[in-house]
Structure formats: C-alpha cells, structure tokens
Symmetry: C3
Subunit: 492 residues, 3 copies
Amino acid sequence: MQHVNTNIRLTLPVVCFVWQIAMIILFGVFIRYDEESDTHWVETKAHDNITSDIENDFYFRYPSFQDVHVMIFVGFGFLMTFLKRYSFGAVGFNFLIASFGLQWALLMQGWFHSLDPQTGKIFIGVESLINADFCVAGCLIAYGAVLGKVSPVQLLVMTLFGVTLFAVEEYIILNLLHARDAGGSMVIHTFGGYYGLTISWVLYRPNLHQSKRMQGSVYHSDIFAMIGTLFLWMFWPSFNSAITDHGDGQHRAVINTYLCLASTVLTTVAISSLSQKTGKLDMVHIQNSTLAGGVALGTAAEFMISPYGALIVGFFCGIISTMGYIFISPFLEKTLKIQDTCGIHNLHAMPGVIGGIVGAITAAAASESVYGKQGLINTFDFTGDFKDRTVLTQGGYQAAGMCVSIVFGVVGGAIVGSILKLPIWGDPADENCFDDEVYWEVSEPTFHTSMKIKPKSPIISSQLPDEEEEHQESIPPILEYNNHMIHKQQDL
Amino acid sequence: MQHVNTNIRLTLPVVCFVWQIAMIILFGVFIRYDEESDTHWVETKAHDNITSDIENDFYFRYPSFQDVHVMIFVGFGFLMTFLKRYSFGAVGFNFLIASFGLQWALLMQGWFHSLDPQTGKIFIGVESLINADFCVAGCLIAYGAVLGKVSPVQLLVMTLFGVTLFAVEEYIILNLLHARDAGGSMVIHTFGGYYGLTISWVLYRPNLHQSKRMQGSVYHSDIFAMIGTLFLWMFWPSFNSAITDHGDGQHRAVINTYLCLASTVLTTVAISSLSQKTGKLDMVHIQNSTLAGGVALGTAAEFMISPYGALIVGFFCGIISTMGYIFISPFLEKTLKIQDTCGIHNLHAMPGVIGGIVGAITAAAASESVYGKQGLINTFDFTGDFKDRTVLTQGGYQAAGMCVSIVFGVVGGAIVGSILKLPIWGDPADENCFDDEVYWEVSEPTFHTSMKIKPKSPIISSQLPDEEEEHQESIPPILEYNNHMIHKQQDL
Amino acid sequence: MQHVNTNIRLTLPVVCFVWQIAMIILFGVFIRYDEESDTHWVETKAHDNITSDIENDFYFRYPSFQDVHVMIFVGFGFLMTFLKRYSFGAVGFNFLIASFGLQWALLMQGWFHSLDPQTGKIFIGVESLINADFCVAGCLIAYGAVLGKVSPVQLLVMTLFGVTLFAVEEYIILNLLHARDAGGSMVIHTFGGYYGLTISWVLYRPNLHQSKRMQGSVYHSDIFAMIGTLFLWMFWPSFNSAITDHGDGQHRAVINTYLCLASTVLTTVAISSLSQKTGKLDMVHIQNSTLAGGVALGTAAEFMISPYGALIVGFFCGIISTMGYIFISPFLEKTLKIQDTCGIHNLHAMPGVIGGIVGAITAAAASESVYGKQGLINTFDFTGDFKDRTVLTQGGYQAAGMCVSIVFGVVGGAIVGSILKLPIWGDPADENCFDDEVYWEVSEPTFHTSMKIKPKSPIISSQLPDEEEEHQESIPPILEYNNHMIHKQQDL
C-alpha cells in the first residue's frame, strides 16, 4: 500500500480559521447593507416616492433565492451522494466549500461589480446573495469532477481560486462584453465544467482502479442522489429567473426553463433505454442528464425563445447529455486521461456550451417585431454605452463570452490543478479514493438485528472482540446476523 | 415460470421520441406567452395603468407554484418509495410521466379553457403551469394504484389518456357546471382515484401473491416515503390556494388547509394505535392517512368554512382514511378484485368524494351575512352568465360535478384499462412485480463492511472469480457480486 | 429484564381524540379569520384605500411561512433521524406533536396576544400560523433532549404544557418587557432548550447504558439527518425574518442570518477536525453545530448588527457549540445527570443565551446615526407606551427577557418533568430506549440480494420452512425469513 499522509488536523483547521478571520476583516472594511436592507429604507421610500414596502426588491427575489439556496446545498450536495460510501464527503464538503465560497464571492463580485467609488464600500442585498450562490455553483460543479479524489483542504483552495476566477470572467462577460447570461450557461456551467475537468486532468491518477470497489452506487445511495436531482430539476426555473428583469423577465424565464426540462426528461429516458440490451434504464442518466436542459437554457431563458423553442433545446440536450455518459465519458477517461467522477462534462460543460450557442443565436435572431421596441431594449439592456448595439452585434458578443468562459475554465483549471498537485494537501491514496473513512468518523454501515441479541452465555460475548480476525474470513457477519434474525422472529 | 417479455427497448424510446416531437410541433402551432410573460408586458402595463411589476400574476402565484411542483415530483415520487425494492420505479417513472403529462396538459387544458378564438393560440403564464401540474397530479394518483405492476410504456399511455379525460371533465365541472374546485377534491382526487382503481381492477392479477416477497417495506424505504409524505403535507396549503382568488382567497385557503391537516394527523394516529394489539403505530397510516384532510378540503378550502369547520373535516378524514387502510383495502382486494398498491382509495378517492360533498354543503350553506355581498360574488364567481345563481343551486351543481368526476374516472379507467391489457406493453410477470430489476440497471442492495475486508492471503482474492460455486457457503455472496461489478466496470 | 408496560393502545387514542375534540370546540368559540383572510377583505381594501391585493400580508409572509413550516416538519423531524433505529419515532412523533402543538398554540398565543376585547374572538392570519409554528419549535427542541426515552403520550403532555408556558413567557418578554426577539433566541431556543434539559434531568435514567447498542448512528441514518440539517440551515434566514418588519426588516434579517450561518460552518469544521487525532470530521458536529449561528442571531437578526458583526457571531457560535459536544455534553451527563440525546444544550440552549446577550448588547449600542431617527423607532418599536424608551433601557429589558426565558424553561421543565415521571405514560424500559420497535410496527431492517436467488431445484424451495437449520449455509437465510413474512401476512 502506497503510504500517504491524509492527516488534515493541522491544515484544515488553520485554513478554516485564517480564512474566516480574513472574511470578517474584509467584510468589516468593505461590506454594508444596501438601501433596501438598511433601516434608512423608510427615507429611501419617501425620497423615491415608493408607496409600499412590497416594492422592496426582497419581495421580487426572495422566493427564487431560497430555491437557488436549496439547489446549492441540497441539490448539488445530494446529487453527489450516489457513491456507495462517499455520501458524507458529498454532502459535507459541499456544505463546507459553499459556505466559504459565498462569503468570498460577496467580496470578489462586490469589488468587480458594485464597489461604490465614492465610499469604497460594497452594498449588498438579496440579489447579491443570489449572485454569491451562483458563483459558488461554479465551484460545486468543479467539485463533481474530482469527487472522492481530493481532500477538503484542496477543495477549499479550489474554491478560493474558483470564486476569484469566476468574478473576473463574469466581469468580462457581463460588464465588458455586455453579454446576457441570467442563468449562467456560460458564466457558471461552462466555466465551472471546464475548470473542474482541467483540474481533474492535472490530478490524473493512473492507478485509480485500485479503489474501483468503492466507485459504484448502492441501491439507497441512488435514491439519495435522486433527492438532489429532483430539487435541482424542480427549482431550475428559479435559478434561471432569479436575477432576470422584474415582471415579464422572471415570468418568461420560468416558463421556458420549466418546458425545456420536461422535454429533456423524455429524451434522456429514450436514449438511456436504447443503451441497454433489454431497454432497462440507467440511474446515472436519470440523475444527471435530465438536468441538461436547464443548463442549456441558462442564457436564453429570458429571451423570447418561445415555448416550442424551449422544448427543442431540451429535446437535444437530453439526447446529447445521455450519449455523453455512454460514449464520451469513457473516451475522456481512456484517451484524454480525464477522470470525471460525476460526469460534469455531460451535465455542465457540454450543455453549457450549447447554452452559450443557443443564446448567441437567439440573441442575433431577436427582432423588434417579436420583442417590441421597448421589450428589445429591456431584454438586452441596450442602454447607456450599449444603446446603439444591434442584435447581430449582441449575438457576436454572446459568442465571445462563451469563449472567455472556456478559456478561464481551462487556463484557470491548469494553474489551480498544478497548485493542488503539491504533496502537502493530504489527498487520499489511490486505493482509498471514494471512501469516507479517510476524512470522517464513520458509523456502522447498516443496522443488524443481531446487535440486539443478548448472548446466552457471556463467554460468547466476551470472545467476540478477540476472535474477530478468525471468523472474518469464514463466516460473513451478515450471515450470522440473519440466523439470529430468524430465531428472534420465531420467538415473536 | 411464466414467460413474459419485458423488453421495452423498442417501445419506450419510440413512444418518448414520437410524443416529444408531437409536443414540439403542437406547441409550435398553438402555445404562446401570455401578456404577463411576454416582452410586450411593458406596453400592457402602460395600457392597463399598472404601476408596478409586482402586480404581475407571477408574484402572486410563483411561490405556490414551486410548492406544488415539489409536491408533484418529490411528494408523489417519494411517497411511493415505501416498497423495499421499487424506489427507482417510484421516483423515476413518476418523474417521466409527470414530465410528459405537464406538456400534454398545457395543450389539452389550453384547448378547452383558454384557446383564443381570434388567434387560435393558447397563451400561457404561471397559472397555466400550476394547472398543468394539477392535471398531472390526477395521473400520478392513478399510478399509485398500479405501482409495481405496469411498465413505463403503460404508464405513459395511462397518462396520455388520463390528461385527456382530465381536461374534459375539468371543462365540464368548472366551466359548464361552474362548480368551484380550487384544490381539486373532485377534479383531481376523485377522478384520479377512480381512474386508477378502475384500471387496476381491469388489470387484476390473480397470482400477484407470487411477488409477495417484494411487497413489504424495509426500514429505510419507510423513511424515504416520509420525505414524500411531509412535503405533500407541508405544501398542501399551497396546493389548495395556488389558483384561488388573489388576496383573501389565497390567504383563507391556506389557513383552512393548514388546520385541517393538523387535525387529520391526530385522528390518524389514534386509529392507527387502536388497530394494533399493543397500540403500536403503523407507518402505512402515518404516511398516507395524514394527508386525507388536504384532499377533503380541496373544494371548500377557499370557502368561509371557518377554522373549526376545517378542523372537523380533518378530524373525520383521519378516521375514515385510516379505517380504509385497515378494513376497506383488504375488502377491495378480496371481494372486488381491486389491487391498490398504495391505497389510493383511502387517500384520494374516498376523501375526494368527502371533499366534494363538503364543498356542496358549504356552498349551499353560504350566506351574504357571512361572506358579505361582494365576498359571495367573488368566492363563487357569480358573474356573467352565472350572476343570478343562488347558493343552493350552486350546491346542487357542486354535487353534480362530483358525479361527473366519478363517472369520468370509472368509465375512462375501464376503457384505458382495456387498452393496457393488450399484451404488447412489456408489463412484468406476476412474480416480478414490485421489482426494479425488470426496468432498471440495479446497483448492489446495500453496503457491507465485509467488502472492505482485505484477505490476508492473495490466493483467496484471486480465486474468487473462478470458484464462485464453492465459496458461496463461506464467503458472502456480496463479495462475488462485487467482483462481477469490477469486471463490468473494467470492460467499459 | 425490567418489566415495563409500553402499551399505549388506550392512552394514546384517548389523548388524541379528547384533545382534538377540545381543539374543535375551542376553535369554534374563539378562532375567526382576520380581516385579510376574510371575504370582507374587499371591503377592508376599499375602506383602507388599499389599491392592490398584493398589499395583503399574505404576500409578504407566505414564502417565509412555508420555509418555516419545512423547518418544523422536515428540519426538526429529519435532524433527529440520526439514531440507527429511531427514525420512525423521530419523524413520526415530531409530526404528531407539532400537529397538535400548532393548534394549541393558535389558541394560547391568541388569548395572550390578540384576543379582541370587544368580540372575545381571536383573529388569525398568516402571521398567526408562523407564530404557532415558532411556538411548536420550542417543544420540538425539548423533544431533542428526551428523544428515544419517552412515549408519544408523554410527548403530547410535554407539548401541551410547553406551548402553555411558551405563550406566557412570550407574552411577558415581548409584550410586558417589550423586548425584541424576532427569531426567538430567547423565547424559542433558550426556553425550549432549558425546558427539555430540565425534563431530561428529572427523568434521569441511571441504567440507560443498557440500550447503548442502539444509541449510535448508521451510515444511512447520518445522511437522513443531513436532510434535516440542511433544510434547517438553508431556511433559517426565513425563520429569523418571517415576522420582522415589512421591507428592510425582513431583508436585513435574511442577510444577517445567511452570513452568520456561513461563518458557523467553517469554525464548526475547524473544531471538529481538531478534536480527532487525524483531523477527521464528526458528523454529529456537522449536523448540529453548523446551525448554532442561526440560533444565536435570533434576537439581533433584524438589528443593524452589520454584515461583519453577523460573521463574528457565527464564528464564535461554531466554536462554542462544537466544543459543547466535545466537552460539555459528557460533563452534563456524568456530573449533572442530564442525558441530552440530541445535544440540544449545544445547539439551542447555549447559543440561545448567546443570542439573548448579543441582542441586548446590540440593542444597547444602537444609535440614531446608524439607524436613522425613524429607523430606530421602527426597529425597536419605540411607539405608544414605549415611545420614550432609550436604547440603553431597551438593552436592559432584553437582558431581563433572557432571564425570564431561562426561568420559565427550568421551573416549567421541573414541574412538567415531575408529571411525566408518573408511571402511567407507557415509557420504555431502559434497555428498550432508542428502539422504534416499542411504538411502531417495524419493517425488515434491510434488503438482501440473497432474497432473489432462485433455488435450482424446486425441492429446496419447498423444504425451506422445514429445514431451517440445515440449509442455512447453502440457501440465504433471508429466504426463510420471507417465508415467515408471507405466513404472517397470510394470517392477517
């Protein structure tokens, strides 16, 4: 057995403490409530002639925010619990890095997007919280590629750099290029996907097959994963509409995403069934590919893509994503040496790119006859410096944004991957990958009635601890267990 | 062993692809954004003198919509995971048929309720999405009766016809009879219940006892089912209020449903405890009968039934539903030959009928002194053609609506059941019912510590694949199974 | 074996029926819809010059209410499923006592807070439902201390008195002392914590070690518990903001809680890792201590504590709560004889006290320069009788409120504990604690593949029931088990 030090008792607490203290200091210097969450709101209302508290942005966005929040913590967390023995790591590390990432995202996004030049402060409200959650989503996607193969310290480092890169590419794409990307096909999914894939490529483990026994799922872990799938699927309309324009913008993004995802489910099932000799379905496809439509509509959700357009996008995404799991993932692993635990290439990277392309095309095809004059201006925000931009130009900038997100993902992932390759982070040995025991105090695997059997003679009981070694090879504990069960039931 | 062909590799993909393409074409022809989700909303606002985007119907209904959405996919899906080995089918097929059903529902309900005569188009908004989810609920209820006994292709056929029938009966009940049924006691639950029960009656399997070993629950599957129960229970107030009138209508429906459900829990527990010798509780009752109050208040939730009235409805529904599980289900199976896997008769059909009756009585008993003059008009929509209708007449039409939903359920179920009896759908043999292995690639049942025992001598390990027969007695079967898995994975 | 009567077939149904009937009668006498949920809302709107239905309080609070509702039933319920074999009791009894408690809370809180002197009626709306859920939360916290050691009848009694005490201490703290406590650090968490701990102290079981084998978790039960943790964690911003002021009040409470909780996660992980030799994490800490920040910000969430202030509170709460699990819980059990199953001392009682202190300090430190003149009045409700109160005085009353909640918890818990000590409630024997079998019909512990092995010769199959001992080595024991099951089912 390869000797690897997975002791993180020094590094993990130090990183957590130091970074959290840094957050407190930076928040003290930079972060303040915005005018809608400050007690001076009563004056703002009077000043801006706002008649009702219901006009506070909180009431436009809070329900969507909570849905997004559930996607980040339950959705991403449980989606990754499919491995038979890495559910603690899936849910727990997801929880950890998201909690750190959202704080750092508020700062990074604040500095790039909303630093008030006069006061030098960042003013936050509910929309900032949504954006922070979005930023974290990019890093959680990347986590999917390296799931089970890295230490929590590496994940925290990956998140630190991931959020930083995210804020910069987002600034370039949304502010400089003025591309639209409300649901983040490019900014979140393409970036996050390629960031994770590249890191996984750098961290390639040629002997990963040594932990093959831990790589599958068990029956219950597949059901746990469906909790993640369903909460992601159901709340994706909120994801894609959370920061779109008030009124028709949010309304339309919801309808489009709802329809697109429904369509994806049917084609995912169709391809999954086709892929097996007797037409059986594969849980991996149902858990993941059903979500590809939501990813691919991230950019265009707020556009007038029309209901049938949304269905078409979903139709092809279900096919492509499922075929990705069947054909592309094995190819990536064998040929390109990319070990992608959760198949994020098929769920995020590829559908993200499709989403960017769909966004560019639908933007370029937008017309005043469909959108209305003011509708076109509102949807693409053709105001200020961009008031003379045409839809064709917009389409070009959308495509450019797409490229920026890929470049940031690949180049950023390569750099961060190199950092993570340093032998100081406590990552697991090849044969201990996908095993919670490395980083968690793990409880018994399952409940046995035999636990309740009171041995008739104390001798047997006292012998048990001493004779463990011998009987492990001959009698499986579970078999004994069942014998006892039967006796017990007969007693009933 | 009876030989049955459960290969769905041809039929399932064909049905999914053809139907999804049909959806795309029909959506292209018929479905458009309504004025609140279209970019022309800015013009609508100016035209209608709407001062704020918050007046968009989206903000009145979206939180409720998302709750209903969770009920459809997590609620119904997980409620049916109680079987020890049919959780993939429960959650997965629920996911599939709901995703198809909601698209078809948007079309069917659109044609019947909101086809614009001038343009020939159906304009959809958030309320349409809620109604589509409602329509799907009817079919998912029916799924509960045949859970584990049909193929996914049969479920899709059942959903196609179910949605079609639903839209027609809904049109008759709500539009022609002008009955009120905001939470669908009649339209959703009574129809869905009898539709499913009649199909199950037509598909009666005299030898179903051959799969008795698969019909129970295991400890964990009962907990998974509680996820479904609780999300249904918690969000039922949203279900019953999602499409009621803005303002007091939604507010009152929530209060009534919240109270009614609380009351149901106590009487369910009481009867469940009474039914066992030592007062132990039965999970089947807790999982299902606690929800009966929500069903039974579907019609009357928006009425002035008063808080104590809601408690009374819940009180009796808990009793009746639980006694249904104890006494009526065995009777239905033995005498009427209705095999009702989830007991939808006790959870939906019977409480739905109660709900229809409660609705008729409370409508007939409504008075201007309680409702106020305008309140009465608003609540029962006594406008247009119905402006002279009295509450007594309304009560009669409510009762008539009740009958319509039963007739549609029974007659529709008989016809659809006959179609599903054709031997072309790939349904499972009697001894393979309630078993995910028929339609799913199934992972190992559970994780065993024994998997992690590293044999001291490499010989044992290397012998494993070759000596399968011999070592069955000494080595737990799960070990071999894993060896196969590893081979399979290496082959990929 | 100590002989104990756990038969609750008489007491449980009687308590459920009698209490539910009492609720119906009392609701009939006292509870009515308030003006926003009554059909006369249309007149109220005209009278109060309200232009839009969106001004109905329903739209300000319903999304938060549903989040709180999820916390109560899924959050608290699943958080307690961590025990290997008490998940039915955790989720099921939580469901039962919350359903009873919320009805009783509407009455008790109504009598104390909103009894209309003219009509003698209590008028309820969505805010009443939230307050009822809050009140129930106090009792569910107390349940955590006695989890697995009491009967459902005892829990109902505990809830009856708990809600009663809650309503009184809440009246004293919020109305008489006019302390602010929107998220209930004092009113809910401190009271509930000490109420449960004191009851547990009175019910001390010196021989509880006899059921030690049932006290741990299994792998899957820890994942179920994470469902509870995450829904509590994600929706805590809704909890702390649900009844704060419209507009900036709700907005700010959300931001503060969101940040505070994120900070708590990092320090919890740090301390948990430090507590183990190799830095492994402990699921108990992750499941519980990550929530302490939400508790501790219950009072101050609506204040201008500022974003970095929220982070600081979370920082220390994560540390203190995790250290509580490591050091204080064992001390409480050994020295003070308090057996605290879920560690509510570390999650609720101690962070609640911290929250009360933080609230008192931040209130005392409030200034017009930070809050604005009107902002200060709005935040602390310095109106009517309290219009001349200074922030320093307010700080003093906050601290006084803190003490009231502790006194009510301890004294109330001592009295109620004495009542629960009577030998009439059917509580389990020491060696049967933490075991669902006492109060539930329990299904098989887990599913085994071996069930599916079809014997090659039909002879073996027919011999099964007769030859149990012999074929145990060749035929998986579970087959026999199933035969028994079938017999049992046939007997029914």
